[in-house]
Amino acid sequence: MTAYLIKRGGAVVPTVLGIVTVVFLMVRLIPGDPAAAVGGETLSGEALELLRERLGTNGPLLEQYWNYVSSVAQFDLGRSLHTGLPVTTMVMDALPVTVVVGLSSLVLGMIISVPIGAFAAYARSRGNVGADSALTTGAMIIDTIPGFWLALIFILFFSIQLGWFPVSGPIDWGDPVHVVKRLALPVSILSIGQVASVARITRTAVLESLNDDYVRTARALGTPELQVLFRHALRNSALPLVTITGLSVGRLIGGTVITESIFSLPGMGTVLIKAIAGRDYPVIQGVILLFALMFVIVNVLTDVVYTRVDPRVRLS
């Protein structure tokens, strides 16, 4: 296992380097002089030079690149142009919120959508096309409702009308009840966003598994249908599910950006949107870099989990 992890980790190095390169190039792609774009066309002289230095766009390109890569390697992402805070501090402060919200919605999304997909497949395998269509169409409609609109409705109803959930304020990690209440709505919105894709994949995979011979064997041995569905068919659908989970994380990262800003959550999405609006490029670069690295890590984890859920996949 350790050897595998080292090997799989090694394969990530070029990807990570590629990501760092793309993020480095971002600022250089800004039409015209990036420093002028940030500081205004009329900025000149010393101030402009200072800004170039803070953006890292002074000196020859290769030297800029080398400086960038070596600082990233030392976890130095520069300082915010606005607050002067180290970008590393800013993203690390915001990271826990994003990770907790992301992971919880991933889990909740699975809890909601896997059974939907499994039951839809089961209904279909039993010839109950109506129930299958109802479930899949329902999931599809939910999928196409813009999440931010739903978020507004949720706030209106659950927070303002019923007063159940707070929509603002920092997260007090020491108080679990508060954390749950504070995160309930954003997490729900994000999980709803995954329902359709996960349910659809689950449905296809389970439908296929339900046709497999071992399902018949299980039935022939008197296995109750719920067990047939969940213990046998669903477990064998784990591979596509793990894949979709990996992909869901990509979607989730996009979703957190919007959701965090609606619910005033101090996560990485909020940091990113503020930074984009303020053309705070070191921060933009830092957040995008961190998000991309998280995604890479998730993909590696996905591969590792593969070997866990399906004994046929060998570690190699």
Partner: protein, 298 residues
Amino acid sequence: MQYSGAQAAAGNPAARTTARLPFRGMKAFVGNRNNLLGLIILSPIVLLAAVAPWLPIPDPLAPDIRASLVGPSLEHPFGTDKLGRDIFSRTLSGLKVSLTVGFAAATIALTVGMVLGTIAGFMGKTVDMAVSAVVDLFLAFPSLLLAIGFIAVFGPGMWQVILAISLSDAPRAVRLQRSLALSLKSRTYIDAARMASAPTWWLLMKHVIPNTIAPMLVVASIYAANAILAEAALSFLGLGLVPPEPSLGNLVSEGREYLREAWWISTLPGVFIVIVSISLHLFSDGIRENLDPRAAGH
């Protein structure tokens, strides 16, 4: 179903092989309920959006502060916003923008995918490796993030949004087209044609493109649906289209201030987002089912 009569009847191996061949020409697009339903819903919407400027409806940008926040009525079927602008004409106008964004982004992704994917699949080693490396690199970024990053560099606006969205879809399209091209490459009829010393372009035009267009369209219509949602999300974040140009996303976003007094401002355009994406999904599902009957559940 393992024991269905159809399966039993398909016992002969020849029939099985034909079934597995990628679909032939237009067959994939017809004769499927979902497919048809998608088109039936989508066509009038597209038509309506296209002819909107000639319809006898108010100018979507013209304010009329005497008719501020008027609910749906005969005169204003979708009501008006705070400025008294007609939400129905704004929705149609927004539809046009959203559909343009959706289709343009999907077309770009599709074209890039077809071209680079085919090249990577057919040209072999070095080119393939180079293309795949770039594709993998872009796939390492979560898609909306890539779009947001693009906007962060090039600023908001229509073409930026289109390019930003296609930037995140194109790598996926390239990867799919590459694998389709690879599987076709190994197919016998290609070999046969090659032996008859057919030129490469002829191979591509005659066999590769016609045989990959349908599966690519399956994903392209999903891209279009996603692009419409992505545009809405970007606009909501203030990274999308510049007002007063209405896109469906802008409309939903603008209405939130008055959600309680005037639900129609953001809800009705929102319903259109849902309808358009569902019809695109249905269209995509239809083609897919025609390509792979198993996916239909039988």
